[in-house]
Each structure stands twice: as C-alpha cells, then as structure tokens.
C-alpha cells in the first residue's frame, strides 16, 4: 500500500502544490481512504448465473429489448460454426468406412458405400445429410436435388436407436480445484467423461453405466484447474474395457447427431 500511497500523494502535490504544506494531514487522509476501501464482493451464485446467461449465445437472444445491430453475427456465428463442423464431419462418414466403426451407437447412421463413392454430393446435400432426424425427410437441396437422393439422405439422418430422450451433458463454470463436477443425462451406453485443457487430457471419470437417471459425475483431475482455464468436457462411448483410449473410444453424440461436448470456465 505504501507504493500506492506515495504515488497518489506525488500526483496530488503535482496537481496542487499547496497541499504539500499540509503533507502530514493529507498523507493520513489518503492512507485512511486506501485502508478503508470497502471490499464489496458480489454473490458467487449471481456471478456464475449471469456469466452463463451472457456467454451462452442463445440466452442473450431471448432477452427482451435487445436492439439488433452488428451483434447479429454473434448469434449467427454458432449456427454457422455448427454447419461448418457438420460439413467437416459428414464427409468423414461418407469417405471412410473404417472410421465409421468408431462412431457410437447414437451417431447418425453412415451412408452406404454407393453413396460414399459419390463424390459429387453438393454442399446443400451435405447439409441435408447432417440435418436432425425430424428434418431428414425435408427436401433442402432445391431444384438440383432429386427425390431419390432426398430419400437416401433421410435414412442417413435417422439415428440408429430411438434417442428422442437421448443423452446430454452439462457442466457449470466452477472454481479452481482438483476435480470437475458435471451432469450427464440419460447415458444409454457405457461412457467415460474426459476433461481437456486445450488438447491436454486433465482427467477421466470412472466408467459411467447406462441409466435413465441424471448422474452427477465427479472427474478427478491430474493437474489442478486454475482460474482462467477454459476446460472442454467430452463424453466418449467406452469400448468395453472401462479405460479411456482415444484411439478406440469414440466420441458420443446426442439425439441430433451433435458431439456430446461442453466447455466451462474456471472462475476463481
């Protein structure tokens, strides 16, 4: 505090040299001001709740009274990113049958080899392939897309199982520490929850057994999470050995074919 006090005083004397004549009293006043700075701290629950509202894009959209501006990009971007991700992922199913063996039972059913061989599939058609099950029969390819192609795509978009209430994953922002708490809803297959910091695996949960009940899963971390970390959680379908092996345990997908992944921030 002494450095800060000195800086403030030097600054004050520069602004009003006559204050130097009352140096002792001014010093005491400023020292007291610094000492008595009220340490008001907001409620952590409020901090986390507001952060979730702001950083999750869909929450911001729903807020009444928002004025449309260039801000539309913020909300459009995730949609675009999702579309791009699907465009990247779907060709992998189409062109690499061996890779499809790694997909969990809840992933979209791969197309047939005949379809895979057709490299002339348009972007619009690829987008249709990645559409949710309830959109599978809708024709989105415009005049160029013929009916037979559209029907093939509807098969592609249907999940292998009835997953209308399929698995989902949620993790709130959390404090620094040696473990991460997440909620896994309706895992219908043996699974492992993996915590990443960028590409580094920070921790792996114990085997999560299938259940219809929501589960709270505590993942112990190999390295403590510190304030400012952004962690990614991913749910993997275990191959049966209960040990996470990225080469053989496939990333799990939700009912709409999206990877079961979420991010959280370590707040303090």
């Amino acid at each position: 505090m002494d450095d800060r006090l000195t800086t403030i005083l030097e600054d004050l004397y520069r602004l009003d040299p006559t204050l130097k004549g009352e140096e002792e009293a001014v010093r005491a006043l400023v020292a007291t001001l610094l000492k008595e700075k009220p340490m008001v701290v907001p409620d952590p629950a409020f901090v986390m709740k507001l952060r979730r509202e702001l950083v999750v894009p869909s929450a911001g959209v729903a807020r009444p009274g928002s004025v449309a501006s260039a801000w539309w990009m913020v909300y459009a971007a995730p949609v675009g990113a999702l579309a791009l991700l699907l465009l990247i992922l779907v060709p992998k199913y189409v062109t690499s049958p061996t890779e499809t063996t790694l997909t969990p039972t809840l992933a979209p059913t791969p197309v047939t080899n005949e379809e895979a061989a057709d490299e002339s599939v348009s972007d619009a058609a690829l987008f249709e392939m990645s559409a949710p099950a309830d959109m599978g029969t809708r024709k989105m390819g415009g005049a160029e897309a013929d009916d037979s192609f559209g029907s093939e795509m509807s098969i592609m978009a249907e999940p292998a199982l009835d997953v209308s209430a399929g698995p989902s994953l949620f993790a709130p922002d959390q404090e620094a520490g040696g473990e991460i708490l997440a909620q896994v809803f309706s895992p219908t297959f043996p699974a492992l929850l993996v915590v990443y910091r960028e590409t580094e695996v920070l921790g792996v949960s114990q085997l999560i057994v299938p259940t219809e009940q929501p589960l709270e899963v505590l993942v112990p971390l190999y390295t403590r999470a510190v304030a400012g970390d952004v962690l990614t959680l991913q749910l993997y379908a275990d191959n049966g050995d209960g040990i996470f092996t990225p080469e053989v345990d496939a990333l799990a997908y939700d009912a709409f074919g999206a990877p079961l992944t979420t991010t959280l921030q370590v707040v303090r």
């Binding site: 004050l12 204050l19 009293a25 008595e36 509202e53 950083v55």
Partner: protein
C-alpha cells in the same frame, strides 16, 4: 495480460467466449461501482446484469479507437444507475445520482452504509461528482482520462475536481487519523446525505 481491445474485437466477430474474459475482468468492478451508488445488493445485481447485457448487445457500436472498453462499460453502468433512479424521480440531474437514492434508502441500505468504514461515510459529505472521482481515482485506480470519459468533462477538469475534493475532505475531516476522523467529523453525521455543492 492481453489488452481488452483484443477481446472486444473477437466479440465483435462473434466470439462469445471472449466476452466471458471481459466479464471476468470487470464484473467485480462494475458491481462495486454500482453498489457504492445504491448500497443495495439486489439493485446492484439487477443493474450489473443490465450493464453486461447492454454491453453485449451494443458492443457492435463500440469503437476501440475512440475510447477504451473499461470507460465505455463504466459509462453504461453510470447511465444505468441514472436511469434506475429516473424511473422513480423525474427531476434528477446527472450529477445527483449518488444522492437521489437517499430518499429511498431502506433499513437494508442504511445497514450497508453503516458497515462501511467511517471515511467512506464522510465521502458522502462531498458532492456526487467529487465522490465519484475520488472513488474512481483512489479505489479503482483509473486514469484521469478514463475518469473524464466516464463522468464527462475534460481531463483537466477531473484533475482539478480531484485535488479540490481531497482538500475539501481534508478540511471537513480535520487532522486525520482514523480516531481523529471520528471526532473531527462527528457532527457531519447529521449532514451525511446532503449535497454540499
């Protein structure tokens, strides 16, 4: 630590995670700034929430070449407090926002004030702008330029107001030691919520 402008640019390009970084940097400061003006946890939470939602909505209009993000955010906070009180009173001037809540102070807010240090209470014997400048300069360590952006006016005017505020406070509180403040300013208790400007 990367500059705020890096993150504001990312947010303007649609990266909401970048807004999370700005939120983490400023949440406590904005909350405190509002709390000092309202002395109510509920109001501070409501207004802080409004501030960040407005910032998120309006960030497309923020130009980092015309000012920094911090001052822009504080200005939103300041205006939110003004708007909050304007909905209750129609004749509020911008400079009176600190005091306008006085009539509406509840036992809760009075308790909150009582829990603050004695010097903090005597800050209320200054006028609203003086008080605001001292808080921003001494407690929040803002530059004069940033304070000028937040409260309006020129940098020179802020410097003058700041040194005069310290002088006024020193004169009102007499020879300052913590114990002396209590004695010298004891009578100020009755004048606590009045604006001396």
């Amino acid at each position: 630590m990367e500059d705020d402008s890096v993150f504001t640019a990312r947010v303007q390009l649609g990266n909401t995670e970048a807004f999370g970084v700005l939120y983490d940097r400023y949440l406590d400061k904005i909350y405190r700034f509002i709390y000092y003006k309202t002395f109510s946890k509920e109001v501070a939470e409501d207004l802080t929430s409004d501030v960040f939602h407005k910032a998120l909505t309006k960030i497309g209009s923020f130009d980092s070449e015309k000012g920094n993000f911090s001052a822009w955010l504080y200005r939103i906070a300041r205006n939110s407090v003004i708007d909050h009180y304007r909905t209750k009173k129609n004749d509020v001037t911008l400079d009176d926002t600190f005091d306008v809540g006085v009539d509406e102070r509840t036992p809760e807010t009075l308790d909150a004030i009582a829990e603050l240090g004695q010097v903090t209470k005597y800050l209320e014997t200054l006028n609203a702008k003086q008080r605001e400048i001292i808080m921003l300069r001494v407690w929040e360590e803002k530059s004069y330029r940033e304070i000028a952006e937040i409260v309006g006016g020129t940098e020179d005017a802020v410097k003058m107001a700041y040194s005069r505020s310290i002088r006024d406070l020193r004169e009102k509180c007499g020879q300052v030691s913590l114990g002396a403040i209590f004695l010298a300013c004891g009578l100020a208790e009755t004048l606590l919520f009045h604006d001396f400007s």
